[in-house]
């Protein structure tokens, strides 16, 4: 490929040669684009990480490891995090985050764990990830796929490695020796795709009931704890004035605040009663009847107009009124 540009914007183009397969017997080239990682919110490891985009859909840690090994030799690659995985942590609630009673979300946010967290943050974090792990349901895939054209961040051993990688990439167009995807023994190390992958998926869909029960139990434990915490906070709040000296009024007995469902039901009943009353009053006065008649007339007029409009619209689409031959 003579005129493939070596850079695209601030990205360096990294062509990868894809070996042919029996079902698609044609060698092809995939293009990976990479640059230094410069996220909006910097973190300490930025200087030794690379930002990749247009990852192949079957990328794995191992694939990238072997790719970088072929560029700058082994031992430089530390880890890779893919876009959907990062999204997972940002958007998808971990089971632990989800294990919060609905009515207590705000309570906990405002008054709950904050001060506690400050105290023993690290300890808490470790505990948290342990619990999270326990509560998580087993995955049903041996190997996830990436969305087409998605991104990844690769963490390398040190800043020097980053430089080396970028240099190596820049040299590629001269040598025309593109690294091969899944070179070496990657294929045998990663779980296979295809029919085995699908079979595995079906198997993994039916996990061991005991494992399942454990995950559910772990979750329930956390949930119960949170529920209790929330109840305590709510109870405390009822007795404690806040900074401005106000006491939050919460409905319910001495022990627990009323559940939200109850309140909703009460409201529904009230609305119903109002509606019934309104209906009874209808048609009682002469002005109501008159208004009703007028409304009906207007409605009639409106519908007539509507019909006309509709007809007009149909006329625009010609041929509607000619019998089919």
């Amino acid at each position: 490929m003579p005129s493939t540009p070596s850079t695209l914007g601030d990205f360096i183009v990294l062509p990868i040669s894809i070996p042919p397969l029996p079902s698609f017997p044609k060698p092809t080239t995939h293009y990976l684009y990479l640059r230094r990682n410069t996220p909006k919110i910097p973190i300490p490891s930025d200087s030794r990480s690379l930002f990749l985009t247009n990852c192949p859909v079957d990328s794995t840690d191992l694939h990238l490891r072997s790719l970088f090994a072929s560029l700058v030799g082994p031992g430089r690659f530390e880890s890779a995090s893919f876009e959907d995985e990062r999204k997972d942590t940002a958007h998808k609630l971990s089971p632990l985050d989800a294990a919060v009673p609905v009515n207590a979300v705000r309570l906990l946010q405002a008054h709950g764990s904050t001060n506690k967290k400050r105290k023993r943050e690290e300890e808490e974090d470790a505990e948290r990830s342990r619990e999270d792990e326990a509560a998580r349901l087993p995955s049903t895939w041996t190997r996830p796929l990436r969305k087409s054209g998605s991104t990844a961040i690769v963490l390398l051993a040190d800043e020097k490695s980053v430089e080396q990688v970028l240099k190596a990439c820049a040299k590629l167009p001269k040598t025309k020796k593109y690294p091969e995807w899944g070179a070496g023994d990657v294929a045998s190390k990663v779980p296979a795709l295809g029919s085995v992958w699908l079979k595995q998926h079906n198997r993994l869909c039916y996990p061991d009931p005991a494992t399942l029960q454990q995950a559910v139990d772990a979750f329930s434990a956390v949930f119960a704890r949170r529920e209790k915490e929330a109840a305590e906070i709510a109870k405390r709040l009822r007795n404690e004035p806040d900074e401005d000296g106000f006491v939050t009024v919460t409905r319910g007995g001495r022990n627990a605040p009323a559940s939200r469902t109850e309140a909703e039901e009460a409201r529904k009943k009230m609305v119903e009663r109002a509606e019934k009353k309104r209906q009874e009053m209808e048609g009682l006065y002469r002005f109501q009847l008159r208004e009703k008649q007028k409304e009906e007339q207007e409605e009639l007029l409106k519908r007539f107009e509507d019909d006309r409009k509709k007809l007009e619209a149909m006329r625009m689409k010609r041929g509607k009124f000619v019998p089919e031959a």
Binding site: Y31, R35, E83, P95, S195, W197, H201, C205, R290
Partner: protein
């Protein structure tokens, strides 16, 4: 309470325009729909109107010229008929169109020619009631034969018609001379009546200079119709019972002569042109809307294939207008007119339809203009619609079958016009309702040429020809066989189509039509047609009963046998071997026609059409049993669950939610297949309301898992031979449904259970409404709520709707299966929900206009395609009202909702098809899935275009169509084709709990211990399929590429081994940025001057200007990726 004055005052103050509109709104009737009907009918009248000046340019002059040249013909002296004919034919090359039988050689009466007594132009040219869409436009001129050449006795033995033919030939000769070079002259039969040939003058086509313009000249022709002088023949002699053709049966004079009703009526009609012309003119004057009503009637008849021609049923515009005129005239019952002259055109039209739907004049004579006239005796000869004043049976050209069909069509249209919720206009006037494949469940071609002479012989007493006579015999036999009320009518309509007689040139004899096939159409009564045993009269001892049995035996021949039934009754019985309604009908027809008419002794004498579709899918009556078995197994399952003692909550309902359990899957459910792991049928379980559910969606989901595990354990403990597995959904969020329980019975059936929790719904609702939440969370909650409602509320109700409808319409279930098969074969089904297809078919059954609900799968399928091809989903919602519960205002609301959607989302990215039902008026439950339109706009357009081309093929090829052709996908439309390796797919269908497929794979690759594996395999039951692997793969492909570069198409999982895909043309070239939706490669030309030293890396500032770098889709790269995903799963990619 008197609110009158107040109201009036208010009205006075309203504005002028509004008041007028109100007035017209009120005057045109109350209901919105019928108002629309009136407006649309007005529009139709405007659209089909002919501008007579331009359309019939030159017609008047031509008529004058013709008149002149006829008047100029010299008189011919009377000569004996044979002599005159031979002399005439020798001199000119023109044949005299004598009707059959030809005049006898020894007759001595004389024919002559003299100047016509009178000329006149009649028909719809004078009344200006022709329409543009007519097939042929003709201007009718009558030429009245002078009295001096006729004798009063001429009405006997076709003598009048011989004279008429001679007269016509003389006129033809003169006109040939005069106009031979200006146009084309030919003979044709007036209304296909072989007694009345006429001359047609077709003027040469004008120079085609303005063919496209709307008001171009029409291709009209002028017909010259000789007729008898008014009142010349004594009406009294021409009554329906008279036998006026006596010749040819002298030898067997002992037998009483048959009445020749048709002949008599033709003679009577010959003398009444003027009186009908007068009648129509008078009515036109009296009733302003008469003409318009006639045009509407003409259109209605035309769309149903009716016309004045005998082969078209013998009921055309003329009969329609005369009937209407008679109804408008006084002298009906109690001396009043049936209809008021002040009615509007649409009202007149509706009234006439009402009349036709009530009066079945093929069974009971209908006399207009007099009371107490008994014509019962003559009904055998044909339908009677008797105009007493003019002593003519208006329906004399109709066969019993065409009258029955007309009656049926009128009934259907009446039903339509009284259904205020349907679109009344289009089915009434626009749709073609005469295609046999749409109308009849069975269609047969009879090849009768061998038996015609045998059955009919040289019997000319029926003037409509021998074929017609045979047709009527066939009808009588079939009517008795299939429409026997005692046995239970198998057929609702039996229709006979006789061949049409085309025009022929002046120098020839009329073309022999005996080669053309006789066509028979049958419309089933689905409840009775599938009956295998007919119970005839009981074989009692009384004389009456004996006679009954004798008659039965005489008709059914050897097929009738005595059988003993319950309560010791012994009856004459018929037992048919076939099983499906179609085959039974075929068997009966073959048997009875061979028995009575000797048709069908040879296999190919009768060819049947209409079953091809059913054969294609091999739909069997036994399938119903399989579905019922599945239902029964489900009840067992339900009982087992309900019988569990230790459940913490009481079960409220277990509802099936899969097509197998509502008779709607393409293939009926089969249990215990060895080829794959069990494929559970999906159900939903709901419990009584409880406060025990935790107040968090995630916690509810977890609780459900615990619940499922518990139910599984309880079931396994309480029932022998039940195996359960808790399976995980492919969920992305903790708040989604996470798991299901598969219950597998040893005997084969398997069920999948999901738990419904009512608290989940209210929590989701609260999240959707919560404005303080972040937008993406609310969006997600909305999608989840939709999914929730779909699964737990809508699907169970839908299942009920379909199940009840299936019992109501026997043809519904096979039609649904056929339509689904069609969607599958065109690789559309992965874009449509099952429920959508089912509801579309249901709609065709609930709103079947202009017909009745389909009574066989093939008509149901054809009409569904017709509906799909015509559905303008951009602006019309599809409303399926299975319970007949929606009010008009509900419907308006639904339409408004669609309009609102279109306003919010004009490019139709989120909402495309809109399908509202009684239970689900929101309209998007079945056409969106997980927040995405299903199908998308592109796919919906493809559906419409596929249905359109299918309908076109059906219309063009009619019965010769091979139904397979409708199911052949056009693979060339796809950019990419992925071929599945069927063997590998099959192997993927079975997985085991304790066998790691990766290990098996590697060990078998190493050539290792195959047998060890086998040992384990034999001992273990395969796991159920969480999802069909093809579906899983497609889902993954869609996740990876979906919404972006590729749109995938595929039919049913496991059946269709080719996946088609289309590149998104809009994403071909894009500006480069991070995180695009597809794999891209750099565009080669994008190389700029910016090529720096490679070592210098990128300089952010420098590259700013180059930020809009374009990249191209890396198609091959993506195909290679797909190939890697599939591995040996693919057989190939293209």
């Amino acid at each position: 309470m008197d609110s009158g004055p107040a109201k009036r005052r208010k009205l006075d103050h309203s504005q002028d325009g509004a008041e007028k509109a109100l007035e017209s709104a009120v005057s045109t009737g109350g209901v919105s729909r019928s108002r629309a009907f009136i407006l649309e009918a007005e529009e139709l009248l405007e659209e089909v109107r002919i501008d007579y000046k331009t359309a019939f340019e030159g017609a008047d002059q031509l008529l004058h010229k013709i008149k002149g040249s006829i008047e100029a013909i010299k008189s011919r002296e009377p000569l004996p008929i044979i002599e005159a004919a031979t002399r005439f034919e020798k001199k000119s090359k023109i044949k005299i169109p004598f009707p059959d039988p030809q005049p006898p050689k020894n007759s001595n009466y004389k024919v002559a020619f003299a100047k016509p007594a009178q000329f006149n132009v009649v028909g719809s040219y004078v009344s200006k009631t022709m329409v543009k869409t007519q097939k042929e436009h003709s201007v009718d001129m009558i030429v009245v034969l002078p009295q001096e050449i006729l004798q009063e006795k001429d009405y006997l033995d076709l003598r009048y018609f011989y004279k008429r033919a001679y007269y016509l030939a003389v006129v033809a000769k003169a006109l040939q001379k005069e106009f031979g070079n200006q146009g084309q002259l030919s003979y044709e039969y007036l209304n296909g009546n072989p007694l009345c040939p006429v001359i047609a003058v077709q003027p040469k086509a004008p120079e085609a200079k303005e063919e496209d313009s709307k008001n171009a000249r029409l291709q009209y022709r002028i017909r010259i119709i000789p007729c008898a002088p008014e009142g010349f023949f004594p009406k009294g002699k021409l009554h329906l019972g008279a036998s006026l053709v006596r010749r040819g049966r002298d030898s067997e004079s002992e037998t009483p002569a048959h009445p020749t009703a048709f002949y008599n009526s033709t003679v009577a009609a010959e003398g009444s042109f003027f009186s009908y012309l007068k009648l129509l003119r008078q009515t036109e004057k009296k009733c302003a809307a008469f003409k318009k009503a006639c045009i509407l009637g003409r259109t209605w008849l035309q769309q149903r294939g009716f016309g004045g021609d005998i082969s078209k049923g013998g009921f055309g515009h003329f009969e329609w207008s005369v009937l209407l005129a008679l109804l408008l005239q006084g002298g009906q019952k109690m001396g009043h007119a049936a209809l008021s002259t002040s009615l509007s055109a649409t009202q007149l039209f509706k009234a006439q339809i009402q009349f036709l739907s009530v009066m079945n004049f093929s069974e009971k004579p209908c006399v207009l203009g007099a009371e107490n006239v008994d014509l019962e005796d003559h009904i055998e000869s044909g339908p009677i619609l008797y105009d007493f004043a003019r002593q003519l049976n208006i329906a004399f050209k109709m066969g019993a079958w065409s009258a029955a069909l007309l009656h049926q069509h009128a009934k259907w249209t009446r039903n339509l016009l009284s259904d205020s919720s349907a679109d009344q206009f289009t089915p009434t006037f626009i749709l073609r309702a005469d295609l046999p494949s749409h109308t009849f469940d069975l269609f047969a071609h009879l090849n009768y040429s061998d038996v015609l002479d045998e059955v009919i012989g040289n019997d000319y007493s029926e003037s409509r020809g021998r074929i017609w006579q045979l047709g009527s015999k066939v009808y009588r036999v079939l009517k008795r066989a299939l429409g026997d009320k005692e046995l239970g009518e198998r057929a609702r309509v039996i229709h006979i189509q006789t061949p049409e007689q085309p025009k022929w040139s002046l120098s020839e004899k009329p073309k022999d039509q005996t080669r053309a096939a006789l066509e028979v159409g049958v419309l089933f009564d689905p409840a009775n047609m599938s009956r295998v045993v007919d119970k005839g009269p009981s074989a009692g001892a009384s004389a009456e009963e004996k006679e009954e049995c004798e008659r039965f035996r005489r008709f059914w021949g050897d097929k009738a046998e005595l059988r003993r039934f319950e309560r010791d009754t012994i009856r004459e019985t018929l037992v048919w071997k076939s099983t499906t309604p179609f085959e039974i009908c075929e068997e009966i027809m073959r048997y009875i026609l061979a028995l009575h008419l000797r048709i069908g002794h040879l296999e190919d004498d009768i060819s049947f059409y209409g079953n091809g579709l059913v054969d294609l899918l091999s739909i069997k009556p036994a399938d119903t049993t399989l579905y019922n078995v599945a239902r029964k197994e489900f009840s067992t399952f339900e009982r087992d669950i309900r019988n569990l003692d230790d459940l913490p909550l009481r079960v409220r309902q277990i509802a099936p939610v899969c097509p197998e359990l509502r008779h709607a899957s393409v293939k009926p459910p089969v249990f215990g297949s060895l080829k794959s792991g069990p494929r559970p049928m999906e159900c939903v379980i709901s419990f009584e309301a409880s406060g025990k559910w935790p107040e968090s969606i995630a916690a509810i989901q977890r609780t459900k898992i615990a619940f499922l595990v518990m139910i599984g354990n309880l079931l396994e403990n309480s029932k022998q031979g039940v195996k359960t597995h808790v399976g995980l959904e492919d969920a992305h969020f903790e708040t989604e449904n996470l798991a299901f329980l598969d219950v597998i019975y040893e005997s084969g059936p398997a069920f999948r259970l999901r738990i419904h929790s009512d608290l989940e719904e209210s929590l989701l609702e609260r999240q959707v409404k919560d404005k303080t939440q972040e937008q993406y969370l609310r969006q997600r909650a909305t999608t989840q709520l939709a999914t929730f409602r779909r699964l737990y509320t809508n699907l169970p109700l839908h299942g009920q709707t379909i199940s009840t409808s299936v019992t109501r319409f026997p043809a519904l279930s096979p039609t649904i299966r056929l339509v689904k098969h069609w969607f599958n074969s065109h690789k559309l089904s992965c874009h449509f929900t099952d429920e959508f297809i089912e509801l579309v078919v249901l709609h065709v059954f609930l709103s079947p206009y202009p017909w009745d609900a389909p009574s066989s799968p093939s008509t149901g399928f054809m009409r569904t395609l017709l509906f799909l091809s015509r559905w303008d989903w951009r602006s019309e919602p599809l409303i399926v009202d299975s319970g007949n519960e929606l009010t008009n205002s509900d419907r308006t609301t639904i339409s408004t909702r669609l309009e609102a959607w279109r306003k919010i989302d004009p490019s139709m990215n989120h909402t495309v098809l809109f399908l509202a039902t009684t239970q689900e008026p929101s309209g998007v439950a079945w056409t969106t899935l997980k927040g995405e339109a299903k199908p998308s706009k592109v796919v919906a357009m493809r559906m419409t275009s596929l249905a359109k081309s299918a309908c076109k093929v059906i219309r063009e090829e009619q019965l010769t169509l091979d139904p397979k052709r409708l199911f052949v996908p056009s693979l060339k439309d796809y950019d990419v084709l992925i071929y599945l390796n069927a063997k590998v797919v099959k192997s993927t269908l079975k997985t085991y709990e304790h066998i790691d497929p990766a290990a098996v794979e590697s060990s078998s690759q190493n050539g290792g211990s195959k047998f060890k594996n086998l040992d384990i395999v034999t001992g273990e039951e395969p796991l159920p399929l969480a999802q069909h692997p093809c579906d899983v793969l497609l889902e993954q492909l869609n996740r990876v590429y979906g919404g972006g570069p590729l749109v995938f198409f595929r039919g049913q999982a496991g059946e269709d081994n080719v996946i088609g895909a289309i590149w998104n043309p809009g994403m071909q070239v894009r500006t480069f940025r991070a995180g695009m939706l597809a794999s891209y490669k750099p565009l080669k030309k994008a190389k700029n001057n910016n090529k720096k030293d490679e070592g210098d890396e990128m300089d952010v500032d420098e590259d700013r200007e180059e930020e809009k770098v374009e990249v191209e889709m890396n198609r091959e790269g993506m195909l290679a990726e797909i190939a890697r995903l599939g591995g040996i799963w693919w057989r190939g990619l293209r």
